[in-house]
């Protein structure tokens, strides 16, 4: 069987303002065979979208081999098309003109491309909307235009960047089903599909293989073959077992003891730790919900009850673990003693516990407090920490990480922050 995509030892890093390399993807190896649908699953910031863009030819790799049908990828290939999370339709073109655009780029004559576009529009179930503008359509219909635009050029490989995540549950189900039908009944000539998602169920419904990404820097942590016939029944025992397996793969590192886990944490967390983008109120909300359970909680169950997808759930869990309010392993999670007492505390106690924990476990906050304490007048500009963080992150990410730290510390009343001047201080506001 021939491979559509071959990736060997791929590395990708971006440069920050000072020219230092920030690694995004490390040592990624991947193949996509003919007739396969592969899902790239991971938390946000794990580099899975970057990997998709490297395969698309939109972004060059830093090192390693990236081959499409045996030839290195140097730019967007004509045989590869892409579906975007945000649809990326041209709002000034009608549905028909949007679908025609790819054919126009191939230099096809006007009448011919019109016929082909109308065929694609009919196939995806959009007939009657040819002359509509995208903004007249609902999100689901817009994404159908996105699919028609991608499929009209008869792509050999279809790439999809979280294609259903901007849609509501029912619409996403519907569109997913239609795509699988086109694929299963060979109504399209496409030989392979590679897609990025952060929805575990979606990955298990659609893919033949799921590749699970870990972050910082991104690499493939685990691979899972889904051996189920289409259409897949989401309530079946085997389906649930696959979902559980994914959760387990995402939380546990096989064979790691508690001590090893602590050691890893101590080693890996420094100022360069990428604080998850979590609001304190979200975290507390999760704690209260978890406090209602007496023992270990099954993560898929928790996710379903709180309507959280993994992009929301895993950063929360990571934060709980970081602050030692909870422990997660093998697809389960459990509150620690500190976590329980935090959930039961009143407002003032809550702030005290929270303050103690972030000061102890978040090196960045520890560092800021230390600097402020050491200063005369107990005042420091945020610039100082931003420059420091930019050694490890891009400018935007550095700002985000610092904003998160400030947000947590303000809640804990560790220090005050003035938006206009960017000064952090021990003083209370006037």
């Amino acid at each position: 069987m021939s491979n559509i995509i071959d990736i060997k030892n791929l590395d990708k890093s971006f440069q920050n303002n000072e020219g230092q390399d920030l690694s995004v993807l490390e040592n990624v190896n991947l193949t996509l065979q003919e007739g396969e649908i592969v899902a790239l699953l991971g938390k946000s910031g794990s580099g899975k979208s970057t990997l998709l863009r490297i395969i698309a030819g939109l972004v060059p790799a830093s090192s390693g081999d990236v081959l499409y049908r045996g030839a290195p990828i140097t730019g967007p290939a004509k045989e590869v098309s892409m579906v975007f999370q945000s649809f990326a339709l041209m709002p000034w073109l009608t549905v028909l003109q949007n679908v025609e655009l790819g054919l126009e780029a191939q230099g096809m004559a006007r009448d011919e491309r019109r016929t082909k576009a109308i065929e694609a529009i009919d196939m995806i179930g959009l007939d009657g909307f040819e002359s509509a503008y995208p903004k007249e359509l609902s999100g689901g219909m817009q994404q159908r235009v996105g699919f028609a635009r991608a499929l009209v050029v008869n792509p050999d490989l279809l790439l999809m960047d979280e294609p259903f995540s901007a849609l509501d549950v029912l619409t996403a189900d519907n569109l997913r089903g239609d795509l699988l039908e086109l694929w299963g009944e060979k109504k399209i000539d496409t030989k392979g599909i590679l897609f990025v998602t952060h929805n575990i169920e979606e990955a298990v419904i659609v893919a033949d293989r799921v590749l699970i990404f870990s972050s910082n820097p991104g690499c493939i942590q685990a691979e899972l073959k889904i051996d189920l016939p289409y259409p897949r029944d989401e309530s079946s025992q085997t389906f649930r077992r696959y979902v559980d397996q994914v959760y387990t793969a995402m939380t546990a590192r096989p064979g790691e003891t508690d001590l090893q886990r602590r050691l890893r944490k101590m080693q890996s967390i420094g100022l360069d730790y990428r604080l998850p983008n979590i609001e304190v109120t979200e975290l507390l909300g999760l704690l209260y919900s978890m406090d209602e359970y007496d023992a270990k909680i099954d993560l898929p169950e928790l996710a379903e009850e709180l309507h959280l997808d993994i992009d929301e759930l895993f950063p929360l869990i990571e934060t709980l673990e970081l602050l030692e309010f909870a422990k997660a392993a093998h697809g389960d999670i459990e509150l620690t003693q500190a976590g329980r007492s935090l959930a039961k505390a009143d407002i003032l106690e809550r702030k005290e516990i929270f303050a103690a924990h972030i000061k102890q476990h978040v090196p960045l906050i520890q560092h800021i407090c230390h600097v402020i304490d050491g200063r005369r007048g107990h005042k420091v500009s945020e610039e100082r920490f931003l420059t420091r963080l930019e050694d490890h992150f891009t400018e935007k990410e550095a700002e985000r990480v610092l904003a998160t730290a400030i947000d947590w510390a303000r809640y804990a009343e560790l220090f005050a922050y003035d938006y206009n001047t960017g000064m952090m201080s021990l003083e209370d506001p006037e």
Partner: protein, 577 residues
């Protein structure tokens, strides 16, 4: 909604309906008019031989037509410049570093400056023909129009969302296709808005560019501008009134026939529809839409457009390459480019300063600085007075949706109407009551630039979320507290935008407002505007260069020290999303 299968080739029946006739007549008439105007413009001419400008109102329609034609030609050149230079700056980071600041500076050069340096060259280029002065006039109008368009286009291109750019790349559009299918449509609403502003701004300089008074030359091109010039020189109040009426009609027509339909058309380019935005109306569009003719024409246009966008020679097998531009040749070219820029900068500084100081001493220099300071004070006063008058009125109008809807087109119209036309009337008053020109020239500047503040204050007030007003009412926030905590911070971003536009216009207006005349009377205010005008007329180019140079420096200082910080403050702290 009516279902139209417009992609079907047959089926469309071209039965004539009465609206076709009306549209046909209107459009043919427009063609004939434009053609006639063009033939009038290429008549032979010798320097020194005066062209007769008649003050008989009968000639006004033809003069008006010729002026409009010049404006439109200038607009065509402005668009070309915008497309080429704007996209060059947006696509090459090397070009960006040079082009954007350059446009910033060019924008601060008063329009008269461009006239004085190019007029002799253009006349020499076409000896014995009116084409020379014509080109000069069009060039001056071009310089009044182009800069904000080019900058706006560049900024639009820089803000195309990443996913749209990626989609275009994935579809393998050629650069040419991408330009017409993605970049121009994306920039269109903003571009049209800037074109409208540019047209308004260039009306003001019509007199200046048609009745060319440089170095004691007196060239008058047939047009409304020259008509006004002569009316002022002869002190003919009737002619001025006729000119005002003619101008009123011209601007009204071009607003209704051109810009309203264009804005209506551009709505489809907007990325998202604002929730409470009403579709704008344009009766001319409605007339055209009722015709079969339009459908037929749009078919032809889409065919032409298709042929143009998919033109053969751009279609060589295009394959984008990701390899960075680290080719040796490329790097050398870049290095050469920067060297060239550096040499040019040094060369210009030397030439410019030697040119000025070859005849002028420090005394002249300080005198000119004093003049510029006086003009700067006038600009500040203009902004203060306009704000005190128009902010409360604008808020009042903006709070009343019906009134705002009524007022918006009127204010737009006022902004488009060249204030210079009212100047003669004001001068008559100054003459009659023996007023001080040093003070009242400020009033003249206000007349031209106040509308931008009013316009933006209305827009800001009416676009504030209604919940904020409800909340203020709920907490019983009233009086000064309401102004201080609710409305002034709320409209601040809009106000700053308006003030920046007003200030930019005001600097240019000092040229025409600080030196005014009526019949044999001429009033010159103490300021750099009158300084530049006077020495342009008498042909003392050293002083003209000094005046223009100082004005540029001041405009740029204003921008860097006041407007940029204010704008950033507005964007970061006061922008309501």
């Amino acid at each position: 909604m009516r279902k139209t299968n417009f992609y079907q080739k047959s089926g469309a029946t071209f039965a004539f309906n009465p609206w076709d006739l009306i549209a046909l007549v209107l459009i043919l008439f427009l063609f004939v008019l434009l053609a006639y105007g063009a033939t009038q413009m290429s008549k032979p001419f010798n320097i020194g031989q005066p062209i007769k400008i008649s003050l008989d109102p009968i000639y006004l329609p033809i003069y008006g037509l010729q002026s409009v034609l010049r404006m439109l030609l200038a607009m065509v050149f402005s668009l070309l410049f915008t497309f080429i230079i704007g996209s060059w700056a947006a696509k090459s980071k090397h070009a960006e570093r040079v082009v954007v600041p350059a446009i910033d500076v060019l924008q601060s050069v008063p329009v008269l400056g461009y006239l004085s340096i190019t007029v002799t060259g253009f006349i020499a280029l076409f000896p014995g023909s009116l084409m020379g002065p014509e080109f000069c006039c069009i060039f001056v109008l071009f310089t009044a129009q182009v800069w904000n368009m080019a900058l706006g286009f560049y900024q639009s291109l820089k803000t195309i969302p990443d996913d749209i750019v990626e989609a275009a790349r994935m579809l393998n559009l050629t650069p040419w296709q991408r330009f017409w299918r993605v970049e121009v449509p994306f920039a269109m609403p903003n571009l049209l808005w800037n074109m409208m502003m540019s047209m308004s701004q260039s009306w003001v300089f019509l007199t200046l560019s048609e009745a060319i008074q440089v170095a004691k030359q007196n060239i008058q091109l047939p047009g409304i501008g020259s008509y006004i010039f002569n009316a002022i020189r002869q002190g003919n109040i009737h002619a001025i009134m006729y000119a005002i009426i003619a101008m009123f009609v011209v601007i009204f027509l071009y607003d209704q026939l051109m810009f309203r339909p264009l804005l209506k058309w551009a709505e489809k380019f907007k990325f998202e529809k604002m929730p409470d935005e009403k579709p704008s109306r344009a009766w001319f569009t409605s007339v055209l839409q009722r015709t079969q003719l339009l459908r037929y024409m749009s078919l032809i246009f889409s065919k032409w457009g298709n042929a143009f966008i998919n033109i053969r020679f751009t279609k060589r097998t295009y394959q984008e390459k990701n390899s960075a531009d680290n080719g040796r040749l490329m790097r050398m070219a870049v290095a050469l480019f920067y060297c060239l820029v550096a040499v040019l900068v040094v060369f210009s500084v030397v030439v410019f300063s030697r040119f000025i100081f070859s005849t002028l001493g420090w005394h002249d220099f300080f005198h000119a600085i004093l003049l510029t300071l006086a003009s700067a004070a006038r600009i500040v006063a203009t902004l203060l007075v306009s704000s005190i008058i128009w902010v409360p009125i604008g808020v009042w109008i903006g709070r009343n949706p019906k009134l705002a809807k009524l007022a918006q087109p009127i204010v737009q119209f006022c902004a488009a109407f060249p204030a210079t036309l009212i100047y003669p009337l004001a001068v008559i008053l100054i003459l009659k009551f023996n007023l001080s020109i040093n003070i009242w020239s400020t009033a003249l500047i206000i007349m031209g630039s106040q509308w931008y503040i009013l316009f933006n204050v209305i827009a800001g007030t009416s676009s504030m979320p209604k919940e904020i007003y409800f909340a203020a009412k709920n907490f019983n926030v009233k009086g000064w507290l309401w102004w201080k905590r609710v409305i002034l911070p709320g409209i601040f971003p809009y106000y700053v935008t308006g003030a920046i536009t007003a200030a930019g216009g005001a600097w240019n207006l000092t040229i025409v407002a600080e030196l005014v005349s009526w019949g044999k009377h001429t009033f010159a205010a103490f300021g750099v505007g009158s300084y530049i005008t006077e020495y342009t007329n008498s042909g003392d180019f050293h002083r003209v260069a000094l005046g223009i140079g100082l004005m540029c420096v001041f405009v740029l200082l204003f921008n860097w020290l006041i407007w940029r910080p204010l704008y950033n403050l507005a964007e970061t702290r006061f922008r309501i999303n």
